[in-house]
């Protein structure tokens, strides 16, 4: 007889807490570090209650020093721990950029596998929550450009917990992007205990044979809304949640594009050098002759993420996505 898996209904941020909790209880090697993650439970409450439960030695409030604690986490990772560091907002990761680019992502290669960095860097990202400037960056491509680091980005509670556990168990460094805008905007059923969502695998959210719409993180609900609006016009979109930005789920993307022949990519990051460009290269390499129209990108613009007084102009909207879908349909 099969026992039903117990689930609970959680928001995305609660699912992250649950994932961290699961791994902290499973292994003493797992340790959390970051600014305000202890007593305060993180500015988004992602680590709420964990210091109380696991103590100040395992859930550590660090000094205000990203280069310091990311660098220290690299040292802990090479020496037997599985640190999970929190960057308060992705826009504040830049002081640690040197550590990530010159050490975390290449230590394995430099030492032919003698030293490895099984570390997770958690970072809330994205605009649309009326946060002050620089709190809203989605500069994920800075981290997919340097090989050696995996980059994941869940869009819902189930994936968030499963990917978090997979990231902590991953033998390589993982940048774990958390869409702030989706932290509390919906709830989902999340299994109790341990399960993983495989890094490197995306997910098909809707079946459709007219257009493939690819999104991740906070752009998934935007893509879904546009796809729904398109239905009334008789256009069936196949919406893919990429979930991992490095390495990209090639099979999922190519299979879908071969079926639909049309692609719209939606991302919040700037257009130039964005993951959308990588997806288009991939499609050109693997499915060029299947295409009925050039792929369209709906992205943040090539401007710094503006202050929140302008963010509605910057962020992709269902309207912009719909316009792109119509464009590839009419081509």
């Amino acid at each position: 007889m099969k026992t039903a898996v117990q689930t609970k209904t959680l928001t995305l941020v609660q699912a992250i807490t649950d994932g961290l909790d699961t791994m902290l209880s499973e292994s003493k090697e797992v340790i959390l570090l970051g600014e305000d993650i202890g007593k305060n439970g993180g500015v988004f409450r992602a680590t709420d209650g964990l210091q109380e439960k696991y103590g100040e030695d395992r859930v550590i409030d660090t000094p205000l020093s990203e280069a310091g604690f990311v660098g220290a986490a690299i040292g802990m990772a090479v020496n037997g721990f599985r640190p999970v560091v929190e960057i308060q907002f992705l826009g504040f990761i830049y002081p640690a950029y040197e550590q990530i680019m010159t050490h975390a992502s290449r230590l394995r290669m430099r030492t032919l596998g003698h030293y490895t960095v099984p570390m997770v860097i958690r970072a809330p990202y994205g605009a649309g929550v009326r946060a002050p400037e620089i709190h809203c960056d989605s500069t994920e491509s800075l981290f997919t450009h340097m090989p050696g680091m995996k980059v994941v980005c869940p869009s819902n509670a189930y994936d968030a917990k499963g990917l978090m556990i997979a990231a902590i168990e991953d033998p390589d460094p993982v940048l774990f992007l958390e869409p702030m805008r989706s932290y509390r905007s919906s709830r989902g059923e999340v299994p109790e205990g341990k399960y993983t969502v495989e890094i490197g695998k995306g997910k098909k959210l809707t079946e459709g044979d007219d257009v493939t719409v690819i999104a991740w993180g906070a752009m998934v609900p935007v893509a879904m809304k546009a796809a729904e609006d398109m239905k009334q016009k008789g256009i069936n979109c196949e919406v893919l949640d990429l979930r991992t930005l490095y390495p990209i789920d090639k099979d999922l993307v190519i299979e879908s594009v071969q079926k639909t022949g049309r692609t719209v990519i939606v991302h919040e990051a700037h257009a130039t050098g964005g993951t959308g460009s990588d997806l288009i290269s991939l499609i050109n390499d693997e499915a060029f002759l299947y295409q009925k129209a050039p792929a369209e990108r709906v992205t943040g613009y090539d401007t710094p993420v503006p202050y929140f007084g302008f963010e509605d102009h910057y962020l992709p909207t269902p309207k912009r996505v719909a316009a792109a879908i119509e464009k590839v349909m009419k081509f």
Partner: protein, 355 residues
């Protein structure tokens, strides 16, 4: 180490002068000027919190409790000096002559908020911690290279001293003898992290030793101590003697920003007590009372003036034209690149002039 860096005071919390040397500084005229400027910025601070609660501005960083540090430093500056504030130093910026409307626009998510009035050298508030510290070293060094007598002041919190930029900036300024005053408002918390967990050093002032520059620790709620030490450090800077690090011991009564809740990480009773004991405005009130100069009608008058001034600025902020999307495209480069031009054209076409 702590005893090597005693806390300098001119006026104690009961309003008594404790530094003979600075007795001349404390005149009725000065006390009233300091007091009324502190009332102005406290009124702005309280109004901003209420605007945030009503959804009329975004997340806001309050500074109540730190008025003496901000007013005392700003009044010590000369008009041609540079100011490098953080997100919590708009009180200082206001006293130094920043536009009130623009300060409010900043908190309303508008770039106009970063634009100082003509002729005023005020940098946009630093959002990433400690990043302004090297900028100030550079801007001040440039003044020196140009042969002026202008200096810079750079504000930051206790948490900022943990970042690499703090050390890199101080080192640069020290090596190149930049005319800059590094002013740390040690409000004893970086969001929720108390100073005891931020550093193992007894003081921040002692960090100056590493760079062989003067480091002083002062009562940051004593506006005379703030004014006197800032003036002294500015004088050194103008004389070509290089940077100074000032650690001003102070306190923020409220939360880190309107988005957090201080009761989660500290005993609110402690803040309430500070309000009664060490408040920078109360201290001047006590001096005025001790001297028999306290005038209730005058206090009421400056409070009303401040409220009227701020209400007018709020109106200006709210009447300010709606965000024009062209702004985000037009200022990335002097001349927009083709990518930006294309994106702008397509977007404006799509929205047809409206959002």
């Amino acid at each position: 180490m702590e005893k090597d860096f005693p806390i300098f005071q001119v006026m104690d919390q009961n309003g008594n002068i404790v530094s003979e040397e600075h007795k001349n500084l404390v005149t009725e005229e000065r006390v009233k000027k300091f007091y009324s400027e502190m009332v102005r910025i406290r009124t702005l601070d309280r109004k901003s919190i209420s605007l945030q609660r009503q959804g009329r501005i975004g997340t806001y960083a309050p500074f109540e409790g730190q008025e003496a540090s901000q007013v005392g430093t700003a009044l010590a500056l000369e008009g041609e000096d540079w100011m490098f504030p953080t997100y919590r130093d708009h009180g200082a910026a206001m006293v130094f002559g920043h536009s009130l409307r623009n300060i409010l626009l900043f908190w309303n998510g508008r770039n106009e908020g970063c634009v100082p009035p003509d002729g005023k050298k005020i940098f946009p508030p630093a959002i990433p911690i400690a990043t302004q510290i090297p900028h100030a070293a550079g801007a001040a060094f440039a003044e020196k290279q140009k042969g002026t007598k202008n200096a810079a002041i750079c504000y930051f919190g206790d948490g900022a001293t943990s970042e690499g930029d703090f050390h890199e900036g101080l080192n640069f300024a020290s090596v190149f003898k930049s005319p800059v005053v590094y002013f740390c408002q040690n409000n004893q918390f970086a969001i929720s992290v108390p100073i005891s967990k931020q550093m193992n050093s007894a003081t921040i002032a002692q960090k100056a030793l590493a760079y062989d520059i003067p480091g002083v620790r002062i009562d940051g709620n004593d506006i005379f101590a703030v004014f006197a030490e800032t003036e002294k450090a500015l004088k050194r800077a103008r004389n070509g003697e290089g940077p100074t690090l000032i650690e001003a011991m102070t306190w923020r009564y409220g939360s880190h920003t309107t988005a957090d809740d201080a009761s989660k990480y500290r005993d609110q009773g402690e803040s309430a007590l500070k309000r009664l004991e060490t408040d920078p405005l109360l201290r001047l009130e006590r001096w005025l009372k001790n001297e028999g100069l306290y005038d209730e009608a005058w206090v009421k008058e400056i409070e009303e003036q401040a409220a009227a001034e701020i209400d007018a600025a709020v109106q200006e902020m709210e009447k300010f034209p709606k965000a024009d999307p062209a702004v985000i495209f037009d200022y990335v480069f002097e001349k927009p690149t083709w990518t930006i031009e294309k994106q702008k054209r397509e977007y404006l076409e799509l929205i047809g002039g409206e959002v």
